[in-house]
């Protein structure tokens, strides 16, 4: 049933007949006796009334536009016009002859545009304290024009806005806002963006003076050579990284316009700079690759032993080798970090750009050179013809580089990783929670056991 039908009206009914129909039905569905019916009626009433009012407004505007065209006005008045008061105030000893206080509104707007906050605030106080603004209609118009100025003027600070709100009595918590929420929200967002820009600027100035504070902001926003940036990033601890990520995210999602306003350009690959979250890929790859190399060499006959047992022992052994190797790499990394500048200089020349990534990706001394160690191991462990030995060495080397690169790069997720995540999600959506019912688990186990026994017996029979 449509709202119109509920009120028993045709969809073109006017406001008056809607109200009459509502009043009639209200006496049937009284709010205190039949709340549910009343709510439905109320909804229908509000919806139809809104529609009728909207229609009336559209009609009005149509006629208004045609009127406006015929009698064109010269320029729109910016001064608040005193609305006619319903009754002359003479009757109640209030002087009607009061005039608007000084300074004039135009003057105030001018000051606001020029950023003379002090004067604007004083003028606002004078205006608000004056009897001129006591009547609601004048006051509302005044508030709206102040709002208009704030929206059109650039360059006022959040502190200034805060001051204006206090003076004008605008308070969101008290729901005393001068306008619709979306307009207010826009101003608030502007203040938040400015406060954010201010904090970034403060961070950067502090960094300029002592090079200690504000490092995260500098890493993200300051223009500097790759080597400098790498060195700065190498000195970061967990807190620095956290702040760095927060800043970068805030810029990306909330305030994309802020760096532009400050004349800065954030590094476009900030996710690459974040320290790798896991080296699991490399571990796994090295373990699998070296195990395969060893086992194939066992079977191809280089080491004559009982093949099957070494196939079991070798992978276990490889875990230990892996661990030792990674420890060794840790020591190497310490050395390589001290030579970061040289490293970046070399890498800039020798490493392909899509791996180098402005110093955030693979570096020659730090990542590529150590990759030769497992490659060497693969070379000496693999048996067979020379091409196989060289082939396995190169494969391990490239694999290490690939997975290191994966670990270092943030943000851009590879297609495999995405596929894996999708599979995980699908699997996760399966009704695993049913397994929390012990009874169900027992039933499944019993069924599986029965099935196994059945097939075994079938085979025997």
């Amino acid at each position: 049933m449509s709202h119109w039908q509920m009120l028993g009206l045709a969809p073109d009914a006017d406001e008056r007949s809607i109200k009459r129909a509502y009043a009639r039905l209200l006496k049937v569905h009284r709010p205190d006796e039949n709340p549910d019916e009343f709510q439905r009626l109320r909804q229908a009433y509000e919806a139809t009334l809104a529609e009728a009012q909207w229609r009336a407004q559209v009609d009005d505007e149509g006629s208004y536009v045609s009127l406006d065209v015929s009698g064109s006005t010269a320029d729109s008045p910016t001064v608040v016009q005193a609305p006619a008061l319903a009754i002359s105030l003479d009757d109640i000893d209030v002087p009607t002859s009061i005039s608007p206080p000084q300074p004039s509104l135009d003057q105030m707007q001018q000051w606001l545009v020029e950023g003379r906050d002090r004067q604007v605030m004083d003028a606002l106080r004078v205006w608000l304290a004056s009897d001129w603004l006591l009547p609601f209609e004048r006051r509302q118009q005044f508030e709206l024009s102040v709002l208009d100025w704030l929206e059109s003027a650039e360059g006022w600070s959040p502190a200034f806005f805060d001051g204006v709100c206090k003076v004008m009595g605008w308070d969101e918590a008290q729901a005393t806002l001068p306008c619709e929420y979306w307009r207010w929200d826009r101003l608030i967002r502007r203040c938040e963006a400015q406060a954010f820009a201010e904090s970034v600027r403060a961070d950067l100035t502090r960094f300029e003076t002592d090079k200690v504070y504000g490092q995260p902001a500098a890493l993200l926003l300051k223009a500097m050579a790759d080597g400098d940036r790498r060195e700065l990033a190498d000195g970061f601890d967990g807190g620095d990284w956290q702040r760095f990520a927060q800043l970068a995210q805030a810029i990306e999602y909330q305030y994309p316009e802020v760096p532009g306003q400050l004349g800065l350009q954030p590094v476009d690959n900030w996710r690459d700079w974040l320290p790798p979250t896991s080296y699991r890929g490399i571990y796994l790859f090295l373990w699998v690759a070296l195990s395969v190399v060893l086992i194939t060499s066992v079977f191809t006959g280089l080491i004559r032993k009982d093949g099957l047992s070494s196939a079991v022992i070798m992978p276990v052994l490889m875990i230990a080798v892996n661990w030792v190797g990674m420890k060794a790499y840790g020591i190497w990394a310490l050395v390589a970090v001290t030579a970061a500048r040289l490293d970046v200089l070399l890498s800039q020349w020798l490493v392909p750009r899509r791996w180098y990534r402005q110093g955030a990706g693979l570096l020659l001394l730090r990542h590529i050179l150590p990759g030769a160690a497992p490659a060497f191991l693969a070379y000496i462990w693999s048996g067979g013809p020379a091409w196989l030995r060289w082939g396995s060495a190169v494969a391990v080397f490239l694999g290490v580089l690939y997975f290191t690169n994966q670990a270092l790069s943030g943000g851009k997720v590879s297609i495999w990783a995405r596929a894996w995540r999708a599979v995980k999600l699908r699997v996760g959506r399966l009704p695993w929670h049913t397994l929390q019912h012990p009874g169900l688990v027992v039933v499944i186990v019993v069924l599986v056991m029965a099935a196994t026994v059945y097939w075994r017996m079938k085979g025997v029979a």
Binding site: K19, L26, K27, D32, D93, P135, E137, A250
Partner: protein, 563 residues
């Protein structure tokens, strides 16, 4: 018979529908206004109204006033060594009002419609309801004070109208905008301030007096008895300034006298900060109702404090017109409550008027908002927007935030700020959920706000069909049922001061107060009168007592005038 009660901060009234009019019922002393003061007499018996008010500063530890301000809070007042909550003090007053009504009507009264400020919160409304229960009254409905006033006004006025009710009482300020059409009285918007009223003006005056004389020179003004005296004197000065251009603020204590002249413009300066606070709620109500000042047909002044010329002038200036003054601002709320009571009882003599009211504040829950890939908690998700017509039931869907979340805790708040920290916490609701991935469990949160302004929150889990309802438990302002029963028993054990002696007791209390207040010859004069009256009382001759009472009352009126 359902009666209408205006339970005010300073004064309370009772009214009932007599078939044609809403008639105000006099109390035992023959007055329509009963001061909202309760206390215990020297025998530990319950007294309320004028007598208690006379004893406010002679026996500050045995009397309590202004307790409406603490409704819905856990604050307790000591009375004769026992702690009472605002509900209980209100109940004592209601009991006395109920007895008055029963005497005036000649029938037992068991049900009542009680008026509350429109801007009263959930806890405050619940407290008022409990006060009614404690007084042995079934509260049929809580009606908003401005709405009640509008009902009384609208009954005289048959045609369509849009009007604004400006209700400034002893302790609360309410604004409501109403529209009357086709026998429907519709509240369009309400706003207000629960801590702004005539008593605040008095407090300011007292502060002004102390600041002008100098606190060092005065006796200890924070002492309860002294504070009550100053307050009463301030009220007298404020009322006097309604007519005269100058009034004298006098304090007498142990052969000393302090005096301060207060002019009307002094009062205007003192009251300015309070007057400024009147503006914002009106603006908000106008904005919420989407009504221009020019579209208002009438401004109604309600509440005793609107008798102040200062307030009338401000209202006239704000709206650019003269407010309606044909109503008695003290009585109209009680009359409206009585009309509501008659409507409730479907009184045949009343033309059918249907009243719809609104929920004056936004109600919602706490949620987290996603910013980038992190969540920020403490954000407010409104469920019922302010000035929605009640009864109303609205729901919003929310979902879980973390993987394998076991329980969802919903904080329920009232207020307008986008951060819950700035809003009023009403209570919380916990519901266990089956462990799933984040965001996979959806909860249906439903708020139902009934006709009396009481909120019920309910959470429904579509996944397993479980439903939880909220009993707001963590709110210290609301009494638990067993606690109510216990306090009811304690209150019923309290004996009430015998009604037929009230006139005499009042006179004795008044003599007692005047004796303490006056000095020298005046004091001797009062002492002589008191002795004379006591002698007359001892004769137990009803006729002679009445004669002496009339005579002394006349003398006292004269005496107080001369001071």
């Amino acid at each position: 018979m359902i009666i209408g009660i205006d339970l005010g901060t300073t004064n309370s009234l009772v009214a009932a529908w007599d078939g044609e009019h809403a008639r105000l019922l006099p109390n035992a002393l023959g007055n329509l206004l009963t001061p909202s003061v309760v206390g215990l007499d020297d025998d530990g018996q319950l007294i309320a109204g004028d007598i208690a008010r006379e004893r406010l500063h002679t026996h500050p530890h045995l009397t309590a006033s202004l307790f409406k301000r603490y409704m819905g809070s856990a604050r307790e007042t000591l009375l004769g060594g026992r702690a009472y909550r605002a509900e209980e003090l209100s109940a004592m007053l209601l009991r006395s009002l109920k007895a008055d009504a029963e005497r005036a009507l000649g029938v037992p009264v068991l049900e009542a419609v009680i008026s509350v400020p429109a801007y009263f919160s959930d806890a405050q409304r619940k407290a008022t309801r409990i006060a009614g229960e404690l007084a042995g009254l079934k509260v049929e409905k809580l009606i908003n004070e401005p709405t009640a006033a509008a009902l009384a006004y609208g009954l005289q006025q048959r045609d369509e109208a849009t009007f604004l009710v400006f209700d400034l009482g002893g302790g609360t300020f309410d604004v409501s905008i109403l529209e009357l059409f086709e026998g429907v009285m519709e509240v369009r918007a309400s706003a207000g301030d629960n801590f702004l009223g005539g008593e605040d003006f008095d407090d300011r005056l007292v502060e002004h007096f102390i600041a002008s004389i100098g606190a060092a020179d005065l006796p200890d003004t924070s002492q309860p008895g002294m504070a009550q005296r100053l307050r009463r004197e301030a009220q007298r000065v404020r009322h006097a300034l309604g007519q005269a251009p100058v009034a004298r603020f006098v304090l007498r204590e142990q052969a000393r006298e302090w005096c301060l002249e207060v002019t009307q413009s002094d009062l205007a300066n003192i009251a300015q900060p309070l007057m400024d606070r009147l503006r914002a709620p009106i603006e908000r109500a106008l904005r919420d109702a989407r009504i221009k000042v020019a579209d208002l047909d009438e401004i109604l002044l309600v509440g005793g404090t609107t008798r102040m010329p200062l307030v009338r002038k401000l209202v006239a200036t704000l709206f650019g017109r003269i407010p309606a003054m044909q109503l008695n601002p003290d009585e109209v709320v009680a009359q409206g409550a009585a009309i509501q009571a008659a409507l409730k009882a479907r009184h045949a003599s009343l033309e059918e008027v249907v009243l719809t009211d609104v929920c004056p504040y936004t109600l919602g829950i706490e949620t987290s908002v996603q910013l980038g890939n992190q969540y920020q908690s403490g954000h407010y998700l409104p469920i019922i927007e302010r000035n929605t017509v009640v009864p109303v039931s609205r729901s919003r869907n929310v979902s879980t935030l973390s993987d394998n979340q076991k329980v969802v805790r919903l904080g329920i708040y009232q207020g307008e700020s986008r951060l819950v920290a700035n809003n009023i916490f009403l209570g919380e609701l916990e519901i266990p959920v089956p462990p799933r991935k984040a965001g996979e469990i959806t909860l249906d949160v439903r708020f139902t706000y009934d006709n009396n302004g009481l909120l019920e929150a309910q959470v429904h889990l579509p996944i397993n069909g479980e439903t939880r309802r909220l009993v707001i438990e963590n709110n210290p302002g609301v009494l638990a049922p067993e606690e109510i029963a216990r306090r009811l028993a304690a209150l019923e054990a309290l004996k009430v001061h015998p009604r037929d002696q009230q006139v005499n007791t009042l006179l004795l209390a008044r003599l007692d107060r005047l004796y303490q207040e006056s000095l020298g010859d005046g004091r001797d004069h009062i002492a002589a009168l008191a002795n004379h009256f006591q002698q007359m009382l001892d004769t137990q001759d009803e006729h002679r007592i009445r004669e002496a009472r009339g005579d002394i009352n006349l003398r006292l009126a004269h005496f107080e005038m001369e001071r």
